[in-house]
């Protein structure tokens, strides 16, 4: 199978999954969905030299070309290589040619070797810069005069040069300093240079970085390109090595470029001096200059994120100059001041934080297992697909595959080395090539990564853009993990973690109750922020280069069956274009024979990235926007499309305590221990390995796909017949592909479940840009379908207690979808009434009466049946230890928040904010109201109203009502209703169009009448967002818990990455520098705002449940806990809802928006001023509130049920 299309970083590309869109609830309109949301396209532009690619000697030509470039660079002209493809001999044409080629190849190789040797000897990297300022130049000149000098003298002169450079006034031209608005192309190049320097510093290629910096610096016209960050990066690199001379050179260059050094520059200089034990005088001068520039020595230790060892060097230098200096003590961690969280962070008061059920030793063992997983590149998981029969064919295919892979490894290694050599040469010409990037990982790692990608390349091919992005991201992630290995980070982590475990383990005690984050912070200094991720163009460039290597190197014999060696090789990967109206998409597609080989071989293992698999030990607590979750793999607190930085900036600018609520809630959700429901997994696997079952959500295998009635036509069939056949074939093929993608998704899920069977595992969480929380591992988590949810249960059990069994029964009835209008006691009675069916389902799930299969959520129903059966049969049900999560669902949660915001009594009553004996059903109410309108219209003789008689049901309006809250438009609403009407077999279909138009109008009208305040608030939010975005800003706000939010909808900008086998163009709409997309900003605001509220409510509930010792997880507005704890959770949930809405939420929002967007009047054009004034007016006229008494929520049984 061509598995693992989705093997990507957790926050990365969920393309395939999200494109199937099946599991994504409609209410998630505003979510970001990986790369697919930023519409990407790749366009191609031809490259001349491609011509030679397919001649079977591509690598030779590459070397030759590289050689030509090298020779040109050295202005030698020993060899002239004829370019031009046509005079290359044709393969297989004549033996003579082949011989000649072979001879030529050998000769070239020799020359190449000779050249490389020669280069090693003769090529020197520049260290001395060309200085443009005469004054500075003379300082340096002095130090160079009189060549052979003692090192002391040289050092003395370097010191003078440094001092002179520091004193020199920064002759910043205003243009230079305010060069904030850089044109896009220059910006791209700058990103490339900066990433180059950073990578050089990581890979110990400082001389090369220095060389390139010097080369660029000495070009007068290129100086615009170099930024302060670049000089600082190189300087810091030297400082870490303690190389004074080069450091001084860079400092001089920095001043020479007219830049003024910032804190980082001084830190680098001081660090270098600290390492070398420089004389006091120089250090003092340096500090003095630094102070004159407005930086205090304390800031070196507070404002900069330096590693411990670097800080020590820095401190040595500062203390030497000022013996009295001591670094500012670490400020005690500030306390969150949010009123809603006051109780959570109160020092006193009852706290009974839950412990894990595992002892310290077990947890420590689990930690080392997880660490091992993360240190290796990826996880191999046994596939649960039925193993193929080991026929001769299969064995043969596996053997061939293995041989080929061995060959490819060798080939890839060779091509990689050649590419590196070429790039090194180009770098020596001063180009920021990918050379240091290719040094980040070992050659073996690159090769195995590429082979892995080749194995999972889908048979229909993959756009180069996606492949390149994926590869780039993989390298980046591996590199970040490796960085941590280089320093002694891993060791320190181990120590700190095992101390941390004392807080969680069942058999240890800590001195006082702590939240996990608080305790973690106590145990050591905060983590240094990781290296900034590379920009998307850099990522793509690297990925494209790697993909190109793969295309170049990987070949197979034309006839895979024929004996190897003698026969002609053909490429495995083809670079083809697909044509989409006006654009071309470059695609890498494997040779069909290779795909077939893989299918026949049916390798029984799947490979996942470490971040795609749940963790084997409790995740690291979240302590900052970039530290938490996985042990080594970096995970972001707020997930977003790669390359989006706006929210990251906001988060980093926050006061540290402001995020505590979110950090602690996410930590707590991630700390819930899970296990696989083994019995259920067995049943699912049974169905899966058999023929699947669409009704039960187990996708059938590809072999069950529809087959066309005829495969071939008799010769001489008419074109029309052929056209018909083609259509049928296409239809079948499409269905088969869809089935395959669903099947793969299930295969990953079930294989992971099987892999984790009998283990305890954890699902680390992060959040989206609105604060909604999600588990990080993408394939196997509790957010998925009914099947996915049913496979999971709490690893820790709790006795059912007095009412636990009742809650289990009610939960069961809820899962079946029956008795929705009945009270809890009626549901309970119903469960008792059907106890026989329940027990039958539990005992004979596949052979009995199969009652569970008819339920809305069959697998969860079955799991619940089994739990109930076990509980009722245990001697004392109250003592039965239950692991099953029991759910409580908000009834139309979005409308609940709107009704509470507007204190709308009528609305509140219909969404169960007020106590009542029976659950209120807002959908039915809307349906009733719509029916009333219809009857009126029918009486007045409206035809469509008459036609609709008897068809207006709850089901027809439900989806529309549900999604109206999340901003569905009339257009979308009509489509939903149309779909429902089409499902009704007896509805006259010719009226669907008219009827759906009519109905959507009625639904909107009745909602407006029932939820008048909702519409008013929605309108107010929309209008504000409209004005804000028209004034040129993206909408921002802060949730009641203090999470800063910014809407990532901007106008699209095209970015082109040129060079290589094709240029790639991608559009990105996520960047703050682009103007906002007014339509999306406007339409997105109401639903996103409501989502930020529901996430706040969830987090508050989570934190308070934690405080009361409960296990708690959530799927947005569906809260889970143990059956015994449902009453407590329900109480907390209502309490927190009331507290949340007791805050002046809308008033605070209005105040925030006014302060943020209406406070700069200066330099505004009249039209803008008018907008801002209007915005201010809008913000000040808040929608009016009703007189609903919030306190009633506390007594409402069906608020969450």
């Amino acid at each position: 199978m061509s598995a693992l299309r989705w093997t990507r970083g957790a926050a990365g590309l969920g393309r395939a999954l999200s494109s199937s869109g099946r599991r994504r609830p409609t209410s998630e309109e505003g979510t970001l969905s990986g790369l697919c949301s930023s519409r990407r396209s790749s366009a191609a532009s031809p490259r001349e030299q491609d011509a030679q690619k397919e001649w079977g000697h591509a690598e030779l030509l590459e070397v030759l070309e590289a050689r030509v470039r090298q020779l040109q660079a050295e202005s030698l002209s020993q060899v002239v290589v004829k370019k031009g493809p046509m005079d290359r001999p044709l393969k297989g044409h004549s033996g003579r040619w082949a011989q000649k080629l072979e001879a030529e190849k050998q000769m070239k190789q020799k020359r190449q070797e000779r050249f490389l040797d020669q280069q090693k000897q003769s090529y020197t990297l520049l260290t001395e810069p060309r200085i443009w300022s005469k004054k500075l130049a003379s300082c340096l000149q002095q130090s160079k005069k009189g060549a052979p000098k003692s090192s002391e003298e040289e050092e003395q002169q370097l010191t003078w040069a440094l001092q002179a450079a520091m004193l020199k006034l920064s002759s910043c031209t205003p243009g230079r300093r305010q060069a904030k608005v850089v044109e896009a192309n220059l910006l791209l190049l700058q990103q490339k240079f900066l990433a180059f320097f950073e990578c050089c510093a990581c890979t110990d290629n400082m001389p090369l970085a220095h060389h390139v910096l010097v080369t660029q610096h000495s070009k007068c016209d290129r100086q615009q390109l170099l930024t302060l960050d670049m000089y600082n990066t190189v300087m810091l690199g030297w400082a870490r090595k303690g190389s004074f001379k080069e450091m001084v050179y860079v400092f001089v260059m920095l001043k020479d470029a007219g830049l003024s050094p910032n804190l980082w520059s001084y830190a680098a200089a001081l660090q270098c001096m600290g390492r070398r034990d420089q004389d006091v005088h120089t250090i003092q001068k340096c500090l003095k200059q630094m102070k004159e520039n407005g930086f205090q020595p304390q800031q070196l230790f507070t404002d900069l994120a330096l590693a411990g060892e670097e800080q020590a060097a820095l401190l040595r230098a500062v203390v030497k100059a000022e013996p009295a200096f001591s670094p500012p003590p670490q400020a005690p961690s500030p306390v969150n001041t949010c009123t809603l969280l006051r109780e959570i962070y109160a020092k006193n008061g009852p706290k009974s934080y839950p412990k894990l059920h595992l002892p310290l030793e077990t947890l420590q063992d689990l930690f080392s297992q997880q660490l091992r997983v993360e240190l290796s590149a990826n996880v191999s998981v046994q596939s649960v697909e039925k193993a193929p029969e080991m026929t001769k064919e299969v064995i043969e295919a596996r053997k061939t595959l293995k041989t080929l892979q061995g060959q490819w490894e060798v080939e890839l290694l060779q091509v990689l080395r050649q590419t590196k050599a070429t790039m090194a040469c180009q770098a020596q010409e001063g180009q920021p090539t990918l050379y240091p990037f290719l040094c980040l990982l070992s050659e073996g790692e690159f090769v195995s990564m590429l082979l892995q990608v080749l194995r999972v390349l889908p048979s229909q091919g993959e756009p180069l853009l996606h492949l390149a992005h994926d590869l780039g991201l993989r390298v980046l992630n591996r590199h970040l993990v490796k960085q941590k290995q280089v320093t002694n980070h891993v060791e320190k982590l181990g120590q700190r973690y095992s101390q941390y475990l004392r807080l969680l383990a069942s058999n240890t005690q800590v001195e006082a109750p702590f939240l996990p984050r608080e305790y973690w912070e106590l145990l050591g200094p905060p983590e240094t922020p990781p290296q900034q991720p590379w920009s998307v163009p850099v990522l793509l460039q690297l990925g494209k280069q790697l993909a190109e290597l793969l295309v170049q190197a990987v070949q197979m014999p034309r006839s895979l069956a024929a004996p190897q060696g003698s026969c002609h090789l053909i490429p495995v990967l083809y670079h083809v274009y697909s044509f989409r109206s006006y654009r071309q998409v470059g695609i890498l597609k494997p040779h069909p024979a290779f795909t077939q080989l893989l299918e026949t071989a049916a390798e029984p293992t799947l490979t996942f990235e470490t971040t795609e698999v749940p963790m084997l030990c409790p995740p690291l607590p979240w302590t900052s926007p970039h530290a938490g979750a996985y042990l080594l793999s970096s995970t972001k607190l707020m997930r977003a499309t790669e390359g989006t930085t706006q929210h990251q900036h906001l988060l980093e600018r926050c006061a540290p305590a402001q995020l505590h609520g979110a950090l602690d809630a996410l930590t707590q959700l991630g700390n819930c221990a899970w296990r696989v429901n083994g019995r259920l997994l067995d049943l699912v696997l049974q169905v899966f390995r058999d023929k699947g079952c669409v009704r039960l959500g187990v996708p059938p295998p590809r072999s069950e796909a529809p087959q066309p009635a005829r495969q071939h036509l008799p010769p001489g069939s008419s074109p029309v017949h052929k056209a018909e056949l083609r259509k049928e074939l296409a239809r079948c093929l499409k269905t088969a592909r869809e089935m395959h993608s669903l099947r793969s998704e299930a295969l990953y899920r079930l294989s992971l479940a099987q892999h984790l069977r009998d283990r305890v595992f954890w699902l680390p969480h992060n959040m989206d840009f609105r604060g909604r929380t999600y588990p990080c591992p993408p394939h196997f988590n509790h957010l998925g379908s009914d099947l996915a949810r049913a496979l999971l249960e709490f690893a820790e059990g709790r006795p059912l207690g007095l009412r636990g069994l009742d809650w289990l029964k009610i939960h069961l009835v809820n899962l079946t979808g029956l008795k929705k209008r009945d009270s809890l006691s009626m549901r309970l009675a119903f469960a008792d009434q059907i106890m026989e069916e329940i027990l039958d389902s539990a005992d004979n799930p596949m052979t009995g009466r199969k009652w569970w299969m008819e339920a809305d959520e069959p697998w969860q129903t079955l799991a619940c049946c089994m739990e109930i059966a076990q509980a009722v049969r245990s001697p004392d049900p109250a003592a039965y230890i239950s692991h099953l999560p029991v759910h409580q669902d908000g009834s139309c949660n979005g409308l609940q928040h709107y009704a509470a915001l507007g204190r709308d009594s009528a609305g509140a009553a219909s969404v169960n904010l007020t106590p009542s004996d029976l659950p209120q059903d807002v959908y039915r109410e809307v349906a009733t109201q719509v029916e009333e309108f219809r009857q009126q219209d029918a009486k007045e003789g409206l035809q469509v109203a008459q036609v609709l008689k008897g068809f207006i049901t709850r089901k027809v309006v439900k989806q529309t009502v549900m999604t109206v809250v999340y901003g569905v438009t009339r257009y979308g609403g009509r489509l939903q209703i149309e779909k429902r009407l089409r499902e009704l077999s007896d509805f006259p279909q010719e009226f669907v169009w008219e009827a759906s138009h009519y109905l959507v109008r009625l639904v909107f009208n009745s909602l407006q009448e029932m939820f008048s305040s909702t519409r008013a608030i929605q309108h107010w939010l929309t209008e504000s967002a409209n004005l804000i975005s028209h004034a040129g800003w993206p909408v921002e706000w802060v949730t009641p818990l203090g999470i800063p939010i910014i809407q990532p909808y901007h106008r699209e900008a095209k970015v082109q990455v040129k060079g290589g086998i094709q240029s790639i163009t991608f559009t990105s709409s996520m960047n703050i520098s682009q103007k906002p997309n007014t339509l999306k900003q406007k339409n997105g605001f109401p639903p996103n705002f409501i989502h930020s509220l529901d996430s706040s409510h969830m987090m508050l509930t989570a934190l308070h449940c934690h405080r009361r010792g409960l296990t708690f997880v959530s799927v947005h507005d569906c809260f889970w806990t143990h059956a015994a704890d449902i009453p407590v959770m329900n109480e907390v949930c209502r309490e927190q809802f009331v507290r949340l809405h007791s805050q002046p939420i809308l008033e605070d929002l209005a105040k925030f928006l006014e302060k943020r967007f209406c406070s700069f009047y200066r330099s505004l054009k009249p039209s803008e001023l008018a907008l801002v004034t209007k915005l201010q007016e809008t913000l000040r006229s808040l929608p009016e509130k009703g007189n609903f008494d919030l306190g009633q929520v506390m007594r409402s049984t069906y608020f969450f049920s």
Partner: protein, 296 residues
């Protein structure tokens, strides 16, 4: 007069077939393909179209013509109408029988003006229909009589001798149809000249190796070759097909270094058919239609 009675809608969508009368008139662009199907099922068109090649198809019921949904516009200029009638009918008495008799195998004629803005799009859509025997081409080799702009005319009829105009559309249309220039009308209101052309699908378009079953691969091949115009054909072949390119090129007697500018439309067809004919591999093409499905 015959010509004057003919409706010429403002915007055309060639897949739409509706209306009464002796000739078929293209519906206005607002209608969609679905509409056409629906309408055709309920038999809105006055004369009953029997699909030519497919006796298996269900017969749709015949109803009398009830009325036209689309607004029509008439040829206002007398001169234009006269010229049109003259060129089309050669001064003969206009009648349906006559047209059919003149062109055996051409069951129906379609007249229209190719709108400037959507011209290209309609030409492409029609090409797809033509090669896949879909839409009106289910009924046979429908003759198209179109007013096209100067620019489109040049493109449609371009050969490698006009590298600036030679395009994928030129190749595919010239292969598919016999394109006959009938009349040029210079309109004062527009700066461009309008060309009246007659395009009759060729009898021999479909062969054993090029048929509605695989036309999409052929389209892709031609598009690919025009994607990098300056690249030699052999390079295109090696990323399009797994068949040994040298052998194929030798068979069709094309120079491996040739670019599309040395290839006439017929050469593309021969090249394609040769690859389709080759037997040395089970997988002939890298392309398959899933390529178009990939999200990008």
């Amino acid at each position: 007069m015959w010509g004057a009675a003919m409706g010429l809608p403002p915007r055309l969508a060639l897949s739409v077939l509706a209306g009464p009368g002796r000739s078929c008139i293209l519906g206005s662009g607002a209608a969609t393909r679905k509409d056409w199907q629906a309408r055709n099922r309920s038999g809105f068109s006055e004369f009953y179209l029997q699909p030519l090649f497919d006796p298996d198809l269900e017969e749709s019921p015949f109803y009398a013509f009830k009325g036209r949904a689309e607004p029509t516009r008439h040829v206002a200029s007398k001169k234009l109408a006269r010229n049109l009638a003259r060129h089309l009918l050669g001064f003969q008495k206009p009648s349906r029988q006559l047209i059919l008799e003149c062109n055996p195998g051409v069951p129906i004629k379609v007249f229209g003006i190719l709108p400037d803005k959507y011209g290209r799009r309609i030409l492409w859509k029609t090409l797809f229909d033509l090669y896949s025997c879909d839409s009106i081409f289910r009924y046979g080799r429908i003759e198209l009589n179109l007013f096209v702009t100067d620019k489109e005319f040049q493109k449609l009829t371009a050969t490698p001798k006009r590298p600036d105009l030679y395009q994928v559309l030129s190749v595919l249309w010239q292969l598919a149809c016999d394109i006959k220039f009938i009349h040029m009308e210079s309109l004062k209101s527009m700066k461009e000249n309008l060309y009246f052309i007659q395009m009759t699908p060729r009898k021999g378009l479909f062969t054993e190796h090029l048929s509605p079953l695989n036309y999409d691969i052929f389209f892709h091949m031609v598009k690919h070759c025009f994607g990098k115009r300056s690249a030699p054909i052999i390079q295109h072949l090696s990323s399009l097909s797994t068949v040994e390119p040298i052998d194929v090129l030798r068979q069709v007697r094309l120079n491996p270094g040739a670019t599309i500018l040395q290839m006439y439309p017929q050469d593309f067809k021969r090249l394609f058919e040769t690859i389709e004919r080759s037997e040395d591999t089970i997988f002939k093409w890298i392309y398959n239609e899933s390529l178009e499905d990939i999200q990008a």
